[in-house]
């Protein structure tokens, strides 16, 4: 029988260097870190374009986003490496296969990031408010990156599609739930960046009060509009996965609890904005809760797909605890060093500014 199941590669014969659950934990943990920055990069890029057409200080807002996004792109790449690393340990046979099937489309992601990054600088460094075309080009490239990431993730979970795509019978984009998944991520990124812009407008002292006010309103509307649209896109995505998958999410206590928390957090934010009057603090907490909850739900969905073919908890383990402990110590060390450096940097910047202002 030439079933697609025969074409799923066997797991690597080398044992896992730690129990599988530990890698799953780090996939979720580092993905949350990555999404903090990825949301700003992607959502910020879209809003950088949309804001430009706003009458009310649109150019200023657009350029301000371009300025901070050169940092967030760097951090998006840096934090994106970790979840990709850990997913390869547990689900390598799926992830490598879908990557190879995508081939150039997958590899071009990196060229798109590099070019997009430089285009961002061209927009950011252009005098006055020129160079918008570079900003548009960068956004298109980053949208491509997002689409390919979503495509590869979806394809890795649907091995029944591999052979038809590999033999050019169907398109690589002909995978289940691709469009709603992409839109769902995109809207979430926009909503997240909307709240970030609200906070940024309050914290960034160099903005004039008019620009700060315009940015605040723009951020609020972006969050509100994007989250409202999720009321349509969210269920579309949920059901597009098919009965087999969504029934597994509902029947899994972790899945259903975090799904409800995530949806409630988003809706509560919308309610605050529309009825009660929002506060940046409340919305920031809610959007973080929504994001973390949805990453956990995402994990339940991932497991629902992969567990059809393979149980990662049954893999042989030959633990390298010593190396793992070294990793943990260094991770804590990194956080301490970064904390001290940021704190010191904050005071240094403040002191120098005060010294200059006399």
């Amino acid at each position: 029988m030439n079933s697609f199941l025969n074409y799923i590669p066997a797991p690597d014969i080398a044992p896992l260097p730690s129990p599988g659950w530990l890698f799953v934990f780090f996939i979720v943990f580092t993905l949350i870190l990555h999404l903090l920055f990825m949301n700003l990069t992607l959502g910020g890029s879209i809003l950088m374009i949309i804001s430009r057409w706003r009458k009310n200080y649109g150019k200023e807002i657009s350029k301000e986003i371009a300025k901070f996004n050169t940092f967030t792109i760097s951090m998006t790449i840096t934090t994106g490496v970790a979840p990709l690393l850990f997913i390869q340990v547990v689900y390598g046979q799926f992830f490598y296969s879908s990557s190879v099937i995508l081939g150039w489309k997958w590899l071009l992601v990196l060229a798109a990031i590099a070019a997009g990054y430089y285009f961002y600088y061209l927009y950011k460094l252009a005098p006055d408010y020129k160079g918008f075309g570079w900003g548009v080009a960068a956004t298109i490239l980053l949208l491509y990156v997002a689409l390919m990431l979503v495509t590869n993730t979806s394809l890795s979970m649907q091995p029944e599609k591999w052979l038809p795509i590999y033999t050019h019978k169907i398109s690589a984009f002909d995978v289940k739930a691709l469009v709603p998944r992409f839109l769902h991520m995109l809207l979430a990124a926009i909503a997240f960046t909307g709240v970030f812009l609200m906070a940024y407008s309050k914290l960034r002292k160099s903005l004039s009060s008019e620009v700060a006010k315009a940015m605040y309103d723009f951020g609020k509307n972006s969050f509100f509009g994007a989250t409202l649209l999720q009321i349509i896109v969210g269920p579309w995505f949920f059901f597009a996965n098919g009965h087999e998958i969504y029934s597994k999410i509902i029947s899994n206590p972790v899945g259903i609890i975090f799904l409800i928390i995530g949806i409630a957090a988003g809706l509560l934010g919308v309610y605050f904005v529309a009825v009660k009057g929002e506060s940046v603090m409340k919305l920031s907490v809610l959007i973080i809760i929504a994001m973390v909850s949805m990453v956990i739900v995402r994990r339940v969905v991932e497991n629902a797909y992969f567990s059809k073919y393979f149980d990662y908890t049954k893999l042989k383990v030959s633990p390298q605890w010593d190396v793992f402990i070294l990793f943990c110590l260094l991770l804590v060390g990194l956080l301490i060093v970064l904390f001290i450096t940021f704190k010191k940097n904050y005071f240094e910047l403040k002191n120098k500014k005060e010294a200059i202002n006399g």
Binding site: N2, N6, Y7, P9, A10, D12, I13, A14, P15, L16, P17, S18, F71, S74, M75, I77, T78, T79, V81, L85, F86, Q88, V89, G92, Q93, Y96, S99, V100, G103, W104, W106, L107, V109, L110, I113, A114, Y117, Y118, L163, Y166, T167, S318, Q320, D322, V323, F324, L326, F327, L330, L331, L334, V337, L338, T341, N345, E348, L349, N351, K352, K353
Partner: protein
């Protein structure tokens, strides 16, 4: 290899890896060296009364951000993406053994990127002392990344005791770990000095040009000396049968290694003259010549190392084809296509299709049909399948080629397919 195959005729997967890697190795070593260079140069400028000195350091630090933090980071991830596309089995084997090593490298990567962003954007906005501290943070992050990745790269060539124990540290601190670390540290310093000459050549202030010219010269020369010590030691630390290939055994490999050594000496001489003896005459032409010389010297070394590993991805453990050394016997019985199912996804049964599938499974990774490394292939094969069978049988005796793995039927099919390729090539040759 159980995985789907990335078939890109005319380019070849190995070529894709090579192109990305060439960029990355130059930029990454430069980025590490430049960290130390900037930290020391900034200290030197802090002690100088000439404000031009600090301007020079600021400009060189821009190189790190715009070149290394962007292209360096992306090509680094690029190597990883491309090896996963071309050789998922090898990548998976490395990740299964060294994932926590990579995770540690990621920590240093985060430190490196955060530090360079803070460093570049706080010029003149914080105290000089704190600013210099951040330069050191950047250098520590960058250097420790090298300390980690060096363990994984050297492991592929000389896995040492790991072959028996499969223990992380046995693989990491393998026989060529320390020699390679010394050599690569030297390369970092050399490349940083060479890149700094690009900025130096535009400096108008003669005091800065002289004092930082000498500083750059000493930095680079120490680098080249370390490089020589490291790679001499490296060549000695490699098992004799492998080192023999690039120390006279194989013509191409020996030429690569010799070129690396000779170009290194010429780089040393040019650098010495234009930075120590006549630093005021440093100009963009000399800087570009140095850039080409230095990169070529290092490039030849990297190709030597990569080629010396052949026919393995991980020496004595996994062949370039993704076949494990310990599964050869089993596959000779069951057939290579029982493992590499994706080479024949439509499960065709005719001899030619099977031959083509075996070619994709065992040959394509190193020999593309058209360009990449196709010359040795087409100069060996013949339009007579029987001759090709003899060639396939003789692979056991070739140190740089893996043995043929598979059943006799598969071997015959491959010989048949190779004969067809040879005939086609002959026809094309006549038409031209």
């Amino acid at each position: 290899m159980d995985y789907p195959l990335w078939v890109i005729p005319g380019i070849g997967g190995a070529m894709v890896i090579a192109v990305i890697s060439v960029f990355h190795v130059f930029i990454s070593h430069f980025a590490v060296g430049m960290g130390l260079y900037t930290a020391l140069a900034e200290k030197k400028a802090m002690n100088s009364d000439n404000p031009e000195a600090m301007k020079f350091v600021k400009r060189t630090s821009g190189l790190i951000l715009y070149v290394s933090a962007i292209i360096g980071a992306i090509t680094g991830v690029g190597i990883w993406f491309s090896i996963a596309l071309v050789h998922p089995a090898g990548t998976s084997a490395l990740i299964h053994n060294f994932v926590w090593g990579w995770a540690i490298e990621w920590i240093f990567f985060v430190l490196e990127i955060v530090a360079i962003l803070i460093y570049y954007y706080t010029w003149d906005k914080v105290s000089a002392k704190f600013h210099n501290f951040v330069a050191w943070l950047y250098f520590i992050g960058a250097y420790l990344s090298l300390v980690i990745i060096n363990g994984i790269i050297t492991f592929q060539l000389t896995p040492g005791k790991w072959i028996k124990t499969h223990k992380f540290w046995d693989g990491f601190f393998n026989p060529t770990y320390f020699p390679s670390l010394v050599g690569r540290t030297g390369v970092c310093l050399m490349l940083a000095a060479i890149f700094a000459t690009l900025i130096l050549s535009f400096v108008k202030d003669m005091d800065v040009k002289t004092s930082f010219g000498k500083f750059t010269g000493i930095f680079g020369i120490v680098g080249i000396i370390l490089t020589y010590i490291g790679f001499y030691w490296w060549a000695k630390a490699i098992p004799a049968n492998v080192a023999g290939e690039f120390l006279g055994g194989n013509e191409t490999l020996s030429e690569f290694f010799r070129n690396a050594a000779i170009l290194g000496v010429i780089t040393f001489i040019v650098l010495f003259i234009w930075t120590i003896i006549i630093p005021k005459r440093m100009n963009i032409i000399v800087a570009i010549v140095l850039l080409i010389l230095g990169q070529a010297a290092f490039g030849y070394y990297e190709f030597t190392r990569e080629r010396a590993r052949k026919p393995f991805v991980i020496r004595d453990y996994m062949y370039s084809t993704g076949v494990l050394v310990n599964e050869v016997e089993k596959l000779n019985e069951k057939g290579i296509l029982s493992k590499v199912k994706w080479a024949n996804p439509l499960n065709k049964k005719d001899k030619l299709s099977i031959g083509e599938a075996v070619f994709k499974a065992e040959c394509m990774i190193c020999h593309d049909w058209y360009h990449f490394n196709s010359k040795p292939l087409f100069s060996s094969i013949s339009d007579d399948p029987d001759d090709n069978l003899d060639i396939l049988d003789s692979l056991d005796g070739n140190n740089l080629m893996p043995p043929f793995v598979g059943t006799d039927k598969e071997k015959e099919a491959l010989a048949f397919y190779l004969a067809k390729l040879a005939k086609e090539r002959e026809k094309e040759g006549k038409n031209e």
